[in-house]
Structures are given as structure tokens and as C-alpha cells.
Amino acid sequence: MIETAPIFLTLELASLTTVILFFLAIPLARWISHKKNIFKTIAEVIVSLPLVLPPTVIGFYLLLAFSPSNSFGKFLDHYFDIRLAFSFGGLLIGSVIYSLPFMVHPVLSGLTSLPASLEDASYSLGKTKTQTLFKVLLPNIKPSLLTGIVLTFAHTIGEFGVVLMIGGNIPGRTNVASIAVYDEVEALNYHNANVYAAVLVGISVTILFLLYLSNRKLQEVKIL
């Protein structure tokens, strides 16, 4: 029979990653959307890298970075007694990197599609950049925000390559559902694999369905 821990772990990882990326991506996308210079172009390239790099490559370099034999890992181990490989925290970092473009791109796209005059109007009325972001810009790109959330969540649920490299498959800590499916297949337990897959698909479809429904409601209010 299948265990429930991998399912909960996957949902936990996907939710936390989505929340973290939401708060990370907004200021980043905002910064990139302002007048272009070379740094912003470089930032855009870096943000898009996880799209292009195979997840196992990302995972592998994270494995090296996390190792106590190398400077970053050594620093964490020595001063904070933290080992990121084989930990949920390590998976979280991996997921945030892996799904970064899925949150940043929709938000960036939404921001750049807004007329520039909206921002100018807000500034001319005495509002700061931050006030403008929260009161004018974000409320007017709600569909983009939702897209980012949905894509990030769904993408993280399916994350495999990165977790495979740095997770260590530890029960209750890093054995997410995608790895569990893989293991069952490797062990030739196709029945179990199917059950895991069915549960994952079922949960994902439900969540996505609910999110898209609420997006439709938002769209209806916006444009007339």
C-alpha cells in the first residue's frame, strides 16, 4: 500500500515554494520592468536559466554547493550547524530556484503590459513607488498573479530531477511523491505507482480547477 507522507510532503513543498516565490518575484519583476539597463537584462537571463537547464544539472550544482567540503556548505555547517543536502530546507531552496521563472515571468509580463501612465499618474498624485505597487499595479494584474501562483504550484508538484539529486529520499523529510512514484516503478510495483500518480493528479486537478474558476470571476469584473 502507499504511504501518505510523500503526498503531504509534496503539497507542503509546493505550497511553501509558491508562497516564498510570490514575495520574492514581485519586487524582482518590478525592478526588471522599470527602465532597462544592462543589469536588468542580465537579471532576466538569470531568471530564465532554470527553464533551460536540466533539473538534474541544477540539482547537481546545488549538491556541490551544499557540500561541507565546499565554501558555502562549509560556512553554513561551521557557523550555523546547517546541512542543506538531505533536508527539507535544501529542497525548498532547490524548488525556489527551479520554479523561479514560473512566478517571475507572468508577473513581469503583467507589469509591462500596464500603461506606463498609471505609474506616472500615481507618482504625480504624491504616492511612493511602494504605495503605487500595492495600490495600483498589483491590483490591476490579478490574473497574472494567479497565473504565476498556479504555474509555480503545479510545476513544483512535478519536481523530480532537483529533488532526486539533493533529497536523499528520507522518509517524512525529503521523500516527495514524485520520488515515491519513481521508486515504486523501479521496484516493479506498478500498482502502487499508479495509486500515487492518481492521487497526485487528482489533487492537482482539483486545485488548478478551483484557481482557474476564481480567475474567471476576476476577469469578468475587470473588462467590460
Binding site: P115, A121, S124, L125, G126, N140, L224
Partner: protein, 289 residues
């Protein structure tokens, strides 16, 4: 008194343009900014609002220095008390009419002015409406109300009525006048409509190739320079013989008029020719421009 002297290198569609503008505006005056497209009018407004940095120069509004390149002063737009009406209105889609105007006010400002503004602009019954549901003219009035809500030191209007139809335009011009009178703001309007400029403003900056050609009352700038007294420009449409004379149809401004003229005047004219129409007593004279 508002004084500005600004220089900036702009890149227009026709190539680089050096903007160099110098101007003094009396407090409470309503002046216009007129010139061909690409002359730098919008850029000038943006520099006054603090949305675009000039290369050099100075802006002083009622004893406040907003910009001084030598003293390295550049007050950010949030701290310049300006009102800006954009060409696309820039109303916030996520707010209704009242909220858009409310947005302009700070926490400590009285909300009473909102009622006042809705009244002056005739938007009273629309305060709860989302702005997507408004007509162009109504949106324009919201944009105006919002820009004026803080009783700004400088009101900047960038071709606010260019997208409005003629009937509504007269209406809105009236609203502009009322607002200006009520709040006595110093205002600069960019317009291509000579009608509007002459009706609303006391002085016009004629901007061409980045420099001020003239800064005069519009009645002088747009006074026609024809020798014949009381003459006007028109477009010849047609002429027909009728008894001893010719009856001609002339387009003047937005009206078509029928006049009697001599065969001599009419014979060489073709439809579309620009002409000068003048009267001596009851007799009409036409000559090609």
C-alpha cells in the same frame, strides 16, 4: 509666479531635437502649449511634473525650487504638488470614480472636496461606477477632478480633449474653465485645437523645433495677417452662375457659406483651393491664398 528654463536633448522620430525653453507664468494663469507633433510639448510637461529629468535648467514654482541643475536640486514628482491629466486619462481600473479621486488625497485631507469636485464636473450620480463603464467624456472629467483634488500648484493637461467628439468637447471646455476659476490653479494645456486655445487660455507658448517661437496671447498669435480688414481664410468649394453674378460655396472653419461674388474672382478657382474671403459692405471678394 512660475518660472522655468529647461534644456534637454530629445530623440524624436525625425531625429535628435534640442529642447530649450524659457518661460514665466503668472500665478493662476491658464496658458496653452501649441506646436507641431514631436516639438517636445509632452516632454516639457513631464519635466515640469518631475517625470523626466532635464539635462540642465531650473524650475521654480511659487518660491519653491523644484529643479536646479547647478545646485543639484531635483525634487521627486511625489513632492511636487502637481496635477497631471494624461492623454489616456490614466484612471485606475481597479477603483471606481470616487476611489480614483480619493486616491489623490492624503490621510489627513478632508473628503469634502470629493463632493465638490463631483458637483463641478457633473459626475455626482456616477461616484460608485467603475471607470470602465464610463464614456470618454466622463472619464476625462474624473481625470480632471483627480488631478485637481489636491489643489496643485501647477495643473498640467496633455491634450486632454483630443479624443473627445465635438459636442462633448465644448461641454468639457466649459468644465475646465469652471475648475480653473473655482480653484485658481496655474494651468498649462497642450492642445492642437486653436478653438480651445483661444477660448480657454490667456497666453500661448508656440513651440517649434524645440524653441519658443512666440509667447503671446493667442488672440495675437492666431490673428490672421491678411491685408484686407475683416478677412478670413476659407476653402473654395464651387461656383455657379446665377443671374448676373456667381454664387460660390466656401468652407470657413466648420461652416459652409454661400456668397455672391464676381466672375473674375471665381473663374480661376478650383475645389480645395485655399482662399482669402473679405467683405466690403455687402460685397464679397475672393482671392487665392
Amino acid at each position: 509666479m512660475t518660472h522655468f528654463s529647461l534644456q534637454k536633448k530629445l530623440h524624436s522620430a525625425e531625429g535628435p531635437l534640442s529642447l530649450d525653453v524659457n518661460c514665466d507664468i503668472e500665478d493662476g494663469a491658464f496658458i496653452s502649449l501649441y506646436g507641431p507633433s514631436g516639438a517636445g510639448k509632452t516632454s516639457l510637461l513631464r519635466m515640469l511634473a518631475g517625470l523626466m529629468p532635464p539635462d540642465s535648467g531650473m524650475i521654480k514654482v511659487k518660491d519653491e525650487i523644484w529643479f536646479d541643475s547647478e545646485k543639484k536640486i531635483n525634487i521627486i514628482p511625489q513632492q511636487r504638488l502637481t496635477g497631471f491629466v494624461f492623454q489616456d486619462y490614466a484612471l485606475f481600473p481597479n477603483m471606481n470614480v470616487e476611489q480614483n479621486i480619493l486616491y489623490a488625497l492624503g490621510k489627513n485631507d478632508s473628503k469634502k472636496i470629493i463632493d465638490e469636485l463631483l458637483d463641478v464636473t457633473g459626475l455626482g450620480g456616477l461616484r460608485d461606477k467603475r471607470i470602465q463603464m464610463l464614456s470618454g467624456g466622463q472619464q476625462q472629467r474624473v481625470a480632471l477632478a483627480r488631478a485637481v483634488a489636491r489643489k496643485p500648484k501647477l495643473l498640467l493637461l496633455d491634450e486632454p480633449l483630443s479624443a473627445i467628439d465635438n459636442e462633448m468637447r465644448a461641454n468639457l471646455q466649459q468644465t475646465l474653465l469652471s475648475i480653473h476659476a473655482q480653484y485658481n490653479v496655474t494651468a498649462i494645456i497642450v492642445s492642437h485645437d486653436i478653438n480651445e486655445i483661444v477660448k480657454l487660455t490667456s497666453k500661448t507658448i508656440h513651440l517649434q523645433n524645440g524653441v519658443v517661437r512666440q509667447y503671446q496671447p493667442p488672440t495675437e498669435i492666431f490673428l490672421n495677417q491678411f491685408d484686407e480688414p475683416g478677412s478670413m481664410k476659407g476653402v473654395f468649394l464651387s461656383a455657379e452662375k446665377a443671374a448676373n453674378e456667381y454664387e460660390a460655396l466656401i468652407l470657413t472653419g466648420e461652416q459652409v457659406i454661400k456668397i455672391s461674388c464676381s466672375e473674375n474672382d471665381a473663374k480661376d478657382l478650383q475645389k480645395g483651393d485655399e482662399i482669402v474671403l473679405s467683405f466690403k459692405g455687402a460685397t464679397a471678394f475672393l482671392r487665392k491664398l
